[in-house]
């Protein structure tokens, strides 16, 4: 009888998670990911409206000013969201991980300092820690990759988050109603969501899953595509449609309404046809830390 040695595991210390959470919150607020910078260059090259072009130029200038002055891109420190992906053969104390993320978030807020944008929804009391009930939002997923733990931080600004829409359409409404809903959501959001945006669309699932899909779509890197073929087709059609509306940067007119429309899909009930829209503003901020046996890699 052969006894197999257990596979080597990656151990992740909560203190390292706390340091990473603090670092990622601040980094996300200051340095825009390369895919978003490339998105700006692409819009700038194709925009035909003079006012829109000057607005894009100011946004691009701001990215440089933030890096040169080591300052925040946008005043809105957002609602902190952490997406945690845990691979196979990873040893981590899950409860301690959640506490570490809270501590790192609070320390970033106090020590930088950052504006705490988080209040109790009824008393409106601000603890000045960027934390509160169920905030930071922590999403944990388990993936097949071995000995990897990835922490993605997204400071979600309110201007775009207020542009969130859900409708429980029915099967008889068809895909046409889904498309109409997305176009009308873009019109309703107008300039309030700080375009050019990434318009995230969730199709299917339950009501809560549908909105979560829209958030995943809105915060996905530019250039990524929906893994579902039908969803990918919808992305292409809706991207063209939304950019034909003429809302433009800041809602002041132009071709550059959205960097892209991203779609995520999930199976749904035979009687349901839900659609959700969640928007990411042009300050589409992200930062990530990837823990592997070789060490920690900081990126987007």
């Amino acid at each position: 009888m052969t006894v197999l040695a257990p596979p080597a595991t990656l151990r992740v210390d909560p203190d390292a998670i706390e340091e990473a959470a603090k670092l990622l919150y601040i980094r996300a607020l200051k340095v825009l990911p390369d895919d978003i910078k490339a998105g700006f260059a692409r819009l700038d090259a194709t925009e035909s409206d003079a006012t829109a072009k000057s607005i894009l130029a100011t946004m691009i200038e701001n990215i440089g000013v933030a890096e040169r002055t080591d300052n925040l891109l946008c005043q809105d420190t957002g609602i902190p969201i952490f997406n945690v992906r845990v691979g196979r053969h990873v040893e981590v104390d899950g409860w301690a991980l959640k506490q570490a993320i809270r501590r790192g978030t609070a320390r970033a807020t106090r020590e930088h300092p950052l504006r705490s944008s988080v209040v109790h929804p009824i008393t409106r009391v601000n603890e000045h820690t960027s934390c509160g009930l169920h905030v930071p939002v922590i999403n944990i997923d388990f993936v097949e990759e071995e000995r990897v733990l990835a922490l993605e931080m997204i400071p979600k600004g309110s201007g775009s988050e207020n542009g969130s829409f859900l409708q429980m359409l029915i099967p008889a409404d068809g895909l046409a109603a889904v498309k109409r809903f997305v176009v009308d959501a873009a019109i309703r959001a107008g300039g309030k969501v700080c375009p050019p945006t990434i318009l995230g669309v969730g199709v299917g699932g339950t009501s809560d899953l549908c909105m979560h899909l829209a958030k995943v779509a809105a915060t996905r890197p530019l250039g990524s595509r929906c893994e579902d073929a039908e969803g990918a087709q919808l992305e292409a059609e809706l991207s063209e449609a939304v950019n034909s509306l003429g809302i433009g940067p800041q809602g002041l007119g132009g071709d550059s309404t959205a960097f892209a429309v991203h779609v995520e899909v999930a199976a749904t009930h035979i009687t349901m046809n839900p659609v959700a829209v969640n928007v990411q503003c042009h300050s589409a901020r992200r930062a990530s830390a990837t823990f592997t046996p070789e060490g920690v890699r900081i990126g987007f």
Partner: protein
């Protein structure tokens, strides 16, 4: 399209010269105001010790660092990052800001609605658009945080900033009924049917 420089506070005559689409650079003084500030001022009857007559307010809640109070810094704060929030949420405060406090200019992003357009026309005010999300740049236009009131609402306090070359800002809504936001909205509505038809969703 004309570029204007306005020293704060300004007069009604200064405002009446501005037309939607013009650009403006502000000098000297600017007040920061936000949702909670205005909810407390107008729904809960609180008053500010600041004289806002003829002044500009910007929809903001800044990132600040606490510092020692001094002769030149009554606030006890210095700027970390000052940017602009979405104005639409504060639509219903435009008229009371102008009627009760004498404010002439509202600065924000995303625009205001028809009631505000009417108030600007009747009372001589305007809306200036700053580029939202460009806060690192905007912060370089702020010389100092001079003073603060209603600071129990921090960060949604009423802030007084010293400014230098604040802009260029775009006149989004003028005192003659003009609104770039209304113009764009009208164009967008006109395009909607063709966009939906192409999607097979008319």
């Amino acid at each position: 399209m004309t570029h204007h420089t306005l020293h704060m506070p300004c007069t009604e005559a200064d405002i009446r010269k501005l037309r939607a689409g013009d650009t403006v650079t502000l000098q000297d003084t600017l007040f920061g105001i936000r949702d909670a500030t205005q909810i407390h001022m107008f729904d809960r009857g609180r008053r500010t010790r600041f004289d806002l007559r003829g002044h500009a307010v910007i929809h903001t809640a800044p990132n600040v660092r606490k510092v020692e109070r001094s002769g030149t810094n009554q606030a006890g704060y210095e700027a970390v990052c000052i940017g602009t929030t979405t104005s639409d949420r504060m639509e219903r405060f435009t008229r009371p800001l102008m009627e009760r406090e004498g404010v002439r200019i509202i600065i924000g992003k995303g625009g205001l609605r028809e009631d505000s357009a009417k108030a600007f026309q009747e009372l001589g005010g305007c809306y200036l658009a700053v580029i939202g999300g460009a806060a690192a740049l905007e912060t370089t236009w702020i010389a100092a945080i001079e003073d603060v009131d209603l600071d129990d609402l921090n960060p949604e306090s009423l802030w007084r900033f010293a400014i230098q070359d604040f802009g260029p800002l775009i006149v989004g809504m003028d005192s003659h009924g003009g609104s770039l936001y209304r113009d764009v909205q009208r164009d967008v509505e006109a395009r909607r049917a063709a966009v939906l038809a192409k999607l097979g969703a008319a």
